[in-house]
Symmetry: C2
Subunit: 353 residues, 2 copies
């Protein structure tokens, strides 16, 4: 069965490209002595996670506990949850999870540390805890190396927690001095910083090793690639594994084509690259611009296309942001060499809690 | 069980508010002699669709065939699919669907009409077909009343199709003369325009009757409401039934709060109202601004809040765009008077094809 026989819209994944991407990132990490802990938020698929582990990743990263539960149920043995777990019920679920996987948690406040400590101590368990550091993004994370050291000391003093090191996202050049200062402040107090988890994401894709403090990276999008990575020159088009196959369903005017993929198929995520706009790259018509999305219609300006697509023509779109697009779909069609191989569920999709 | 016992993030629906909204729209339609065919794209729930029918709606509208199949399987008897069906497989699925429901289809080209005609004629069936008209949006639809008349004549001549009338979206003031001219051009040729389906959406919510040609309207968002409808003054806050319950998980700085709802929970859909920005209204902190979304983190500026939310506090967010938010969730928690009543699946979610 070939891809041409698929109804549209449909999300497809080139498995050969994924294998190349996974092998390349693993080789990069081994060359630079970095541990690789891929973020599953991009694919949300236990099968792709297992491929990453088979190539040498030492565990996976999940953003939500619900995703981690899916990965644990699929037999993944080592999971880092990079989101602060707040509330008794979340802490209790983490305790349950830690009974079947090697779990590492994070936090940037005493409230989160004490919440987890109480639940793990009550269960007679101990869990690794990384202090999240804001080294430039302005999202979660303690704000200074001194705050990192203070929270590390608290974690070390709490029952049920074992201070494991530091975590940050993304890694930018200024992350290096920040993390170095935090490590020194913590180690001067006698604590050991076992892990400094960073990296992942543009623009430091494949240059995370330049921040020397880092021991582990957590890239996600590299497995599939997307238009943002392609437009930034970080990945080649042939290595971008993801496509939305869509059909031209209307040509109401000379310069307008309407396709059967809108924001509920592509997502409204913008392209994260300078000088680019629109909602995806149409591979067969790179001069075309998907200038707006209705929920189920993509509005395409084809005035710059020498040949213009006809009603019924199937086009393939490289989405702006892999993670946002995959998250809309219950399954992906996996192919090798254009042959439709299988439909794989996006198992961790929708596990927002 | 109360809503306070729910883990976050979670999407909740106030069923009493939905009933009020459904009853109000039905009363509006009956007052003005309009048939009501609600669009299910907002709720994607057979249970809410049945409520709309029980109040007097004469059928439902679906955007995709996959949604229509879900509604048919739930026993909904009359379905309009307002999306051009292209390709043999889509036409064959429409034939199957028409064997169990009263089906109406649309199109804006001879290609779509001939595709459907071939499949229905082969099956010995006849289906109602509306000519889609672009009366101002600039999306799908024939471009002039003359084109509408030409396509209507073609539809009338094709086996397997029965010309049923016209369809447009949204209805704007200029839609009136456009549709009137199309009706006259079609009826002067001896054809009868049985249905003129329009309305739905801002800004003509509750003023669709002013476009006199229209016989049926297809609103969707009215059942749940959202921040765009509230900000435009089209609905009261108490009638906006949808909330995302989220927890403050980090307070890294005095003016920044981070919540556990990002673009994969709220959607990146913008607010469709003048002078409004951000990614949802925090009901308890209307001065707060959700200024950016990561995939799982909402970034909130709380500098204008007199009291600022603490870590662990649960807040409720009115999403910018109900349809985009609901589409991210596998289920909604239904409540009456703050009591958690049930979890209802968003059954037609992800049925993009």
């Amino acid at each position: 069965m070939t891809l041409d026989s698929l109804e549209t819209p449909v999300l497809t994944v080139d498995l050969d490209a994924v294998e190349r991407n996974v092998a390349r990132m693993q080789a990069y990490c081994e060359k630079h002595g970095l541990a690789l802990r891929p973020h599953i938020k991009t694919h949300k698929s236990p099968a792709i996670a297992r491929m990453q582990l088979q190539h040498g990743a030492h565990g996976v990263t999940c953003q939500k506990l619900g995703e981690a539960e899916v990965m644990a149920a699929a037999g993944i043995g080592s999971i880092l949850v990079t989101f602060p777990l707040v509330g008794v019920r979340k802490a209790e679920r983490a305790v349950e999870l830690a009974q079947i996987v090697q779990l590492t948690l994070v936090g940037d406040s005493s409230i989160v540390a004490e919440n987890l400590s109480a639940a793990f101590a009550r269960a007679g368990q101990v869990v690794d805890f990384l202090v999240e550091c804001d080294t430039g993004l302005g999202r979660t994370g303690v704000q200074t190396p001194e705050e990192a050291a203070t929270l590390a000391r608290l974690v070390d003093s709490l029952p049920g927690l074992r201070f494991g090191g530091l975590m940050t996202y993304p890694t930018v050049p200024e992350s290096g001095p920040w993390l170095q200062a935090a490590c020194e402040a913590i180690e001067s107090g006698g604590l050991h910083v076992g892990c400094v988890s960073g990296g992942g994401g543009l623009p430091t894709f494949y240059s995370s090793h330049e921040v020397e403090t880092i021991t582990e990276i957590r890239p996600g999008t590299y497995a599939y690639g997307d238009r943002s990575y392609f437009a930034e020159g970080a990945m080649m088009l042939a290595d971008c594994a993801l496509r939305v196959r869509a059909t031209v369903v209307s040509r109401p005017t000379e310069n307008r084509a309407i396709i059967d993929a809108g924001s509920k198929t592509l997502s409204n995520d913008p392209v994260d690259a300078a000088d680019e706009s629109g909602y995806g790259l149409i591979v067969e018509y790179p001069q075309a611009l998907i200038y707006t999305l209705s929920e189920e219609h993509g509005h395409v300006d084809v005035k710059c296309c020498a040949d213009k697509p006809a009603i019924g023509e199937v086009i393939t779109i490289l989405p702006n942001h892999a993670c946002g697009t995959v998250n809309l779909h219950d399954e992906v069609v996996i192919h090798k060499n254009g042959q439709h191989v299988a439909r794989w569920p996006v198992t961790a999709r929708g596990k927002v809690a």
